[in-house]
């Protein structure tokens, strides 16, 4: 795998993961998909796809490994599930692909996989469409998506709101939590009417971090999350010590009505909307 060196980062990268400026330097290969003499490499920092938010890079090249420039590029993840003999398909939230500045053939985007692969009954397929030399080339491949949730680690959740909307939330930051004030970034989507998963706008996500192993204590320093220009929700979460924390959330719509989640008090130790992290 060739290492990739970049001198600048895209604006989106700075907003989403300001600490991962050199992420592109150490990309690992997830899959290589070939068609008509062209190859699409799927890359990310770990080489693995997981349930929840995944930042993914695509590199387009020819069979000799030379960079290839394409005029358009699109992708579509789709899951096929065989339920009682009846195949059922659904997609998940994902972004458009955008070119990484300073590179001819590197593109970036994200996919929020909503469940794990479970071959042979259910599997994810990724279709990538490019236009090279006025020719359309379509790539298709199965992807392996694993679930990394545990009792102490939860970075993805789907919940039904009191407004009967299915919400999807993914924790983007903190990836390396520290003692003190951490940036917290959450991606918020809903299951739309047309098999799409649009970003939800203008909501508020309230943050209340608690430590279940220490009498459910909290810490000062948290700030509610609000949507910023990258479409994601940004706020602050204060963590006073290392260990296992439950990040309790309250989701409020654009009219400040709570659609999911409860405040923590005597008799209610956790919100029905939460993430978990450990460090």
């Amino acid at each position: 795998m060739a290492s990739l060196l970049f001198t600048s980062c895209s604006k989106e990268d700075d907003e989403v993961s300001p600490k991962n400026v050199n992420e592109k330097d150490n990309l690992q290969l997830i899959e290589s998909i070939g068609n008509k003499g062209y190859i699409v490499d799927l890359l990310n920092s770990s080489g693995q796809l997981k349930v929840g938010h995944n930042k993914i890079y695509l590199r387009l090249k020819d069979s000799n490994g030379n960079a290839v420039n394409s005029t358009t590029i699109d992708w579509m993840p789709m899951m096929t599930m065989n339920m009682g003999g009846m195949p059922h398909e659904h997609s998940c939230p994902f972004s458009n692909l955008s070119k990484v500045s300073g590179q001819e053939n590197l593109y970036e985007g994200y996919i929020v996989f909503t469940m794990a692969s479970d071959a042979p009954n259910s599997f994810w397929n990724l279709e990538v469409k490019v236009t090279v030399d006025s020719q359309d080339v379509v790539f298709n491949d199965k992807l392996n998506v694993i679930d990394v949730n545990s009792d102490y680690n939860k970075k993805f959740t789907t919940v039904m709101g009191s407004d009967s909307v299915n919400y999807i939330l993914a924790l983007l930051e903190p990836t390396n939590p520290k003692i003190g004030v951490n940036d917290i970034v959450v991606a918020l989507f809903k299951k739309g009417q047309n098999q799409d998963f649009p970003i939800v706008d203008n909501y508020t996500i309230k943050v209340d971090p608690r430590m279940p192993g220490m009498n459910n204590h909290s810490a000062p320093g948290s700030q509610d999350m609000r949507q910023e220009s990258d479409g994601f929700y940004h706020g602050k979460v204060g963590l006073s010590m290392s260990g296992y924390w439950k990040i309790n959330l309250i989701l409020q719509d654009a009219s400040d009505i709570t659609v999911r989640g409860e405040p923590i008090k005597e008799g209610n130790l956790e919100s029905s909307l939460n993430f978990k992290l450990e460090f």
Partner: protein
């Protein structure tokens, strides 16, 4: 115990002045303005002490100026003029040294032994600011040294003591070697005690669990004369205590260890006007490890180690010129304080929790202190003292800085301060009377816990305390007045001092902030109150009706109050001690009664009412001469009637010792 103030010292051989004038001159020469407490130990000063091998804590407690906060049988925290250790400076031979425990389990006095010391010098108010900024004053624990001698001398002692109440055994030895050009002292003490028992109380079990301790101390001092007037001296103390219980706290101590080293250079009679020039460089290193493994039920298991390292250097000259007797001291030190807390969840799959309770804080101080005693006439002595120091704090740990930024988002890791002090005292001698009046102003910096502590649990009021790094200097204005009378048969002294403290540092409850420790009620954050007032009064008299008999009585009272309706905690109520002593040849017998009225408890800080009490003590001492050697035997009983009581300064309401019978045996050669 022998309480020596500045007017009961040695006589000058060739002056015929009245008694107090003689003493005034002598004290000036020694620059000893404060109170001296002689520490009894096996080598010296054991003759007049009822309990030569009691701990240093007991000696300090008998001063009218010092109260001891007791969290167990071991390591009491000295409070000067009703104020805790943040407001005073405690040094060993002028060396700055700081505790390593966030819960104050290890006051500096716990790292020394009687065998290391000869006396403790207590300076009140700004007289105590020689080595730093203070409000209450200073306690200097002065090392014992046999010094040089004209003839070659080899001597020493072997000693042992036993106390029945907690089955405490003490063993040790000292060895001294002196010649004209060289001396060396070596001493060793071992103490081991089990749990102690409180007095009889309604048929309940009297044993106070988790009050055991084991301690070893070895120290060495050596000096060499570089020339007639110049000498070089090196000293080291190594103190190691293990398995120390603290009934007043939820944790015990598995290790408290200190290494205290110094090297000093002295030039005696440097010139006609400079009597002494001393420079000392020093280093001390303290490790303190808290341990809850002996407690069967705890909210969560935790490890809490702490480390405190201090290095410093001071240089001072003292001398006289015409009517002036002066001293100038330049000192600088750096301390690093670090304490961690690791908590172990019940579920083995869950990660351990970690935080820094003292975030690796460096404190750097450099200061100059000047004192001038001016003999205005044969009756009037004016003392003027002033000093200035630069104080600098730095949080070295990013992890620690980030933690405090939860409370103070824009917190910078460094802070500079200027500490200033100025004071004056006028003494008037007339016949057998001595009157003193004084005024002083001084500033102190917040301590590491007050400025940078992170969720420190105070079990007395059950709150987590968080430091405030943005506080100003605490400032104090103090007034003092005293009078003393002494003749052959009778002596009396009365003293009052008043401290008006501005920007008084204290922890106050903050609503809406969650406690960190599982059982705590909430969080208190340090803030500064407009002002606090502390009044200390004391009265003492001694009467010798007949040659062999001495009757003495002492009483003291303190009062403390601050703005925002704050009753100050740990303020001693009216306390007294009455003693009758008979001595003849090398024998003495002593009976005493000590007691106290009910305390004015501060509910805000978790204090409860402690009933008035009185206890009786009795002691006997005999010296037997065996040719060139001597054997000293002491026998005594404390709390004769096995009274069950607790004092205002017993942490968390634990009771004091019940009846205790002790023996000390010292063989001197």
């Amino acid at each position: 115990m022998l309480l020596v103030s500045c007017f009961a010292s040695t006589l000058l051989a060739n002056e015929k002045l009245d008694s107090l004038q003689k003493l005034q001159y002598d004290s000036l020469l020694k620059q000893e303005v404060g109170e001296i407490i002689i520490v009894g130990n096996a080598d010296e000063n054991y003759l007049n002490e009822s309990k030569a091998l009691g701990s240093i804590d007991k000696y300090l407690e008998e001063s009218s100026v010092v109260n001891m906060v007791k969290r167990g049988a071991y390591a009491w925290e000295p409070m000067l003029n009703g104020m805790s250790t943040e407001r005073s400076i405690i040094t060993i031979d002028g060396m700055q040294i700081f505790q390593a425990c966030t819960d104050k389990m290890d006051p500096i006095t716990s790292y020394v032994e009687n065998t290391n010391l000869s006396k403790a010098r207590i300076e009140e108010g700004q007289s105590g600011s020689e080595f730093g900024g203070t409000v209450a004053g200073s306690i200097d624990l002065i090392r014992k040294r046999s010094g040089f001698s004209q003839q070659k001398e080899i001597g020493g002692s072997v000693f042992s003591a036993y106390e029945t109440n907690n089955k405490q055994q003490v063993y040790g030895a000292t060895l001294n070697y002196s010649t004209r050009r060289y001396f060396a002292d070596l001493d060793f003490t071992y103490r081991d005690a089990e749990n102690y028992k409180a007095g009889q109380h309604k048929g309940k079990s009297r044993e106070v669990n988790y009050s055991q301790f084991t301690k070893r101390n070895v120290s060495a001092t050596t000096g060499v004369k570089l020339s007639n007037k110049q000498e070089l001296e090196g000293a080291v103390i190594y103190d190691n205590a293990t398995d120390v219980g603290y009934p007043g706290l939820p944790m015990d101590v598995s290790l408290a260890e200190a290494l205290i080293t110094s090297i000093s250079y002295r030039y005696n009679h440097l010139s006609e006007h400079i009597h002494l020039w001393e420079t000392k460089a020093y280093f001390n290193n303290i490790t303190h490890i808290m341990d809850d493994s002996h407690r069967p039920i705890v909210p969560i298991r935790m490890d809490m180690p702490g480390w405190s390292k201090t290095k410093g250097i001071y240089s001072k000259i003292s001398g006289g010129y015409k009517k002036h007797t002066f001293r100038a001291t330049l000192s600088t030190y750096q301390n690093n304080s670090l304490a961690e807390m690791t908590m172990f969840p019940d579920n083995p799959n869950e990660k351990n929790m970690f935080m820094l309770t003292w975030p690796d804080v460096n404190t750097l101080y450099s200061g100059l202190s000047l004192v001038d005693n001016i003999s205005l006439s044969s009756h009037f002595l004016l003392t003027i003292q002033g000093g200035v120091g630069l104080h600098y704090n730095e949080i070295k740990s990013d992890l620690g800085l980030n933690g405090l930024q939860l409370f103070y988002p824009d917190l910078e890791p460094t802070k500079k301060r200027l500490l200033k002090n100025l004071s004056s005292r006028l003494s008037y001698y007339k016949g057998d009377f001595l009157y003193k009046i004084g005024v002083g102003y001084g500033e102190r910096a917040p301590s590491v816990s007050e400025g940078y502590g992170f969720y420190l649990l105070n079990i007395n009021d059950n709150y987590d305390y968080v430091g405030n790094p943005n506080m100003k200097n605490e400032k104090s204005l103090n007034l003092e007045a005293s009078s003393a009378f002494e003749n052959e048969k009778f002596s009396a002294k009365a003293k009052v001092n008043y401290f008006y403290i501005m920007d008084y540092i204290v922890g106050k409850f903050k609503t809406g902030i969650a406690a960190m420790n599982i059982s705590a009620n909430g969080v208190k954050i340090y803030e500064q109150l407009n002002h606090a007032s502390i009044v200390n009064t004391s009265l003492g008299l001694a009467y010798k009706p007949l040659f062999n008999w001495t009757f003495s009585a002492d009483a003291s009272y303190r009062y403390g109050q601050a703005t925002k309706n704050t009753i100050l905690p740990l303020i001693q109520p009216f306390s007294y001690r009455v003693q009758l002593k008979y001595e003849k040849n090398k024998f003495f017998a002593e009976a005493s009664v000590e007691g106290s009225t009910e305390n004015r408890n501060s509910v805000e800080f978790g204090e409860t009412k402690k009933a008035a009490f009185a206890i009786a003590n009795f002691a006997l001492s005999k010296i037997i001469n065996l040719e060139k050697n001597s054997l000293v035997v002491k026998l005594g009983v404390e709390n004769l009637l096995d009274h069950h009581y607790s004092t205002f300064d017993n942490w968390f309401g634990i009771p004091r010792m019940g009846r205790n019978i002790y023996t000390n045996v010292v063989f001197n050669f």
